[in-house]
């Protein structure tokens, strides 16, 4: 009897451990497929050519435009000055708002502020705002 409960205990904690280890597994998978070729699997980017996503500033200040940046790519960043990077981020038109939320939450959790997360509704709202802006151009 004791052994059975011990085993069950181990089993349950194993399941918890698995679940806790990768709480953002869809986001992580999508990141590895769509983003890691440029930003690298560890988020380190490429020198001053492709941004390092581990920099905390991105997550603290700019995150309002991130859904739009992912959907539309660098063109969304209207800059008066010279662009900061010599390469551009491509658009990702096929990612849905749920997928964008999952990717951003994975990134938030890993390198940003884990207490902040996006719901698909947040993403949708922000995307609507920037498609209006894009249409107006």
């Amino acid at each position: 009897m004791k052994i059975i409960s011990l085993l069950a205990g181990i089993g349950i904690s194993f399941c918890f451990w698995m679940a806790c280890a990768e709480p953002f597994s869809q986001g992580e998978n999508l990141y590895m497929v769509s983003c890691a070729s440029c930003h690298m699997e560890d988020g380190s980017g490429l020198g001053g050519v492709i941004p390092d996503l581990r920099e905390r500033d991105i997550w603290q200040f700019g995150s309002e435009d991130l859904p739009c940046l992912i959907r539309w790519g660098s063109v969304i960043r209207v800059t008066d000055s010279l662009p900061k990077y010599p390469t551009v981020m491509p658009p990702h038109p096929s990612l849905t708002e749920v997928e964008i939320a999952n990717i951003l939450n994975f990134l938030q959790d890993r390198w940003g502020d884990p207490s902040r997360f996006y719901t698909p509704e947040d993403i949708l709202r922000q995307l609507e705002r920037c498609s209006v802006a894009m249409d107006a151009r």
Partner: protein, 211 residues
């Protein structure tokens, strides 16, 4: 007793000298690196395949040709700035190799764009500055498209003679090592960091070969 201490002391000195020597010695190199590509016997001499002449232009609008690398080995790759697939990864590895040999005067770097229409000289300049590398050691070049594709075929067909799919080099992330006599001596898969580790050891060996 005194003898024992002496003996131990001597052993320590011997050990220390050995360690010191082994630090200065080149990495374990089982003989010289092979020369890749077709060979031709002419009398007593073996003629090896060499990289043909080329004429490109770099990020500082300076001409780059075989004379630029005279007396030095160099590492070659092909890329384009807007490449969303393997290029950033390959560049990251190329940068790692560059940083490893930054202080080593015997080796230089040559990256060719395969998108000559978009990758203009100012863009190549911005790219190399973004990477923070010195333009006297690492040339980012553009030129006649046909010449770039031609020389790519040359580097790769020699490096991977037995590869059944030599075409489509733009999908290959290879780094290629050329010696000071323009012979191809090693290559690796720039998307695989372990393959690049071995490549770095090969460069070390090449730099320690006596000619």
């Amino acid at each position: 007793m005194v003898e024992m201490i002496c003996l131990r002391g001597r052993a320590a000195v011997v050990l220390g000298v050995c360690l010191l020597l082994s630090c200065q010695q080149p990495p374990r190199c089982p003989g010289n690196l092979p020369v890749l590509g077709e060979k031709e016997m002419r009398g007593e001499d073996t003629l090896y395949h060499t990289v043909p002449d080329f004429e490109f232009i770099n990020q500082d609008s300076m001409p780059v040709n075989a004379a630029t690398f005279s007396g030095k080995a160099y590492v070659v790759d092909f890329f384009f700035i807007s490449c969303p697939t393997i290029c950033p990864k390959v560049m990251q590895q190329m940068l790692r190799v560059y940083q490893h040999f930054q202080e080593e005067p015997g080796i230089m770097f040559l990256s060719h764009t395969i998108d000559v229409r978009h990758d203009t000289i100012p863009r190549l300049k911005a790219y190399s500055e973004g990477l923070g590398v010195s333009s006297s050691k690492w040339h980012f070049v553009t030129g006649e498209e046909s010449e770039i594709y031609g020389i790519a075929d040359d580097y790769f067909s020699v490096a991977v003679k037995d590869n059944s799919a030599p075409g489509g080099f733009d999908h290959s992330g290879r780094l290629i090592l050329v010696d000071s006599q323009r012979r191809i001596r090693s290559f690796c898969d720039g998307t695989d960091s372990e393959s690049v580790d071995q490549f770095i050891r090969d460069i070390d060996c090449l730099l320690h070969e006596d000619h």
